[in-house]
């Protein structure tokens, strides 16, 4: 499970969000909403452990998280199979068959990833999540460049993952067809800058 308490995070030295709290139990999903630049990506990177929090804490063992960013980390000169097998080896899991099946990539398995379309690449990137075998998926705009059919496919994959006791934390604008997912709007958590002259130790820089 994941529990976030009073989290504050910053991008480029500027605080973006503060006081964000939420919790996820097994089988639950949470969708983050908010206008561009409100700090969704920053929050997800903080939860994934890529950057330190300004304040608050994230209680999830880092080895339960599988993170997927805007970029898919696909190597164009490797085939779909080789790409997935690499991540399977890194995460110490076996078998990429289920992932190929669920993301409908079986027919493309031996094609070099550079010859895939943008949507197919995205599907490969999401197949990586299944390969990791991690319970908590942290997803940043997972449906970018997916067509309607693939969005539905992805929604089904997330639902199957939740049904197995998995969790998903997502930033997305698109309706995934997951009515059970809770929605958290980040707009009210926008960080307020300290008042000038409030006397904070390094206030001259904020």
């Amino acid at each position: 499970m994941l529990s976030v308490q009073g989290l504050a995070c910053a991008r480029g030295g500027l605080p973006l969000l503060e006081g964000v709290s939420f919790a996820l139990q097994a089988g639950q999903a949470l969708v983050l909403r908010g206008p561009n630049g409100c700090g969704k990506t920053t929050l997800l990177r903080t939860v994934a452990g890529l950057q330190p929090a300004l304040a608050g804490e994230v209680s999830a063992s880092t080895d339960s998280i599988a993170y997927a960013a805007h970029a898919d980390g696909i190597k164009g000169t490797l085939s779909v199979r080789e790409n997935l097998e690499f991540w399977a080896a890194i995460y110490g899991t076996r078998g990429i068959g289920a992932a190929l099946e669920q993301m409908n990539l079986r027919a493309l398995a031996d094609r070099a990833a550079q010859n895939l379309s943008a949507g197919q690449k995205r599907r490969l990137g999401l197949a990586r999540l299944i390969v990791t075998g991690r319970p908590l998926w942290v997803l940043d705009e997972p449906t970018v460049s997916l067509d309607a059919a693939s969005v539905a496919l992805f929604g089904a994959v997330v639902r199957a993952h939740l049904a197995q006791g998995g969790m998903a934390l997502m930033a997305t604008h698109i309706d995934l067809g997951l009515p059970e997912a809770a929605i958290l709007d980040l707009t009210p958590y926008k960080a307020r800058l300290p008042e000038p002259g409030a006397g904070g130790f390094d206030e001259a820089f904020l």
Partner: protein, 218 residues
Amino acid sequence: MIALLIRDLRLALRAGGGFGLGLAFFLILAVLVPLGVGPEPATLALIAPGILWVGALLACLLSLDRIFALDFEDGSLDLLATAPVPLEAVVTIKALAHWLTTGLPLVLISPVLGLLLFLPADAYLWLILSLLLGTPALSVIGTFGAALTVGLKRGGLLMSLLVLPLYIPTLVFGAEVVSRGAQGLAVNTPLALLAGITAGAVALLPFASALVLRINLR
């Protein structure tokens, strides 16, 4: 761990991986030097140890910015940083892959280039041995430089400026081994110092590289 090494080697060997560019550069340098200096065997033999070491060093430098830049651009580096492998191990494997695709081929081709530059017969053993001992340090130090400049636009030139001064001790001791070998002098001291620098760099620098990589990713 092994999977990462295999992937990096595979990427380097496939089309567009840039394997062999360093080697070709080393060869071109060995051809250009006599053309610039003159064909006199005595002169060439005198400068051969230094030229071969400087050439190996520059050839190493050429391929450094590929170590992390490609993984950074396509997002793999973020994913690797959140994967269950310590970043220290990732940078060590990256350095090893760089050495296998750049340093080791340079070591293997160096005797041929020594021939072109009239390297004295006594020095061949020491040339190969010193490059074998020294090039791993070049890869590890270079990995640090690459990690330091990974997120920067036009980082390549800056990286050369940062890495070249760090290469000085390795170059001095490495070239000294070969030129002493060429003169038939004892090479123990510079060889031991070279091995010491390599051992120290391999043992300690990955921690610094992983640290700066984490800073660059956040």
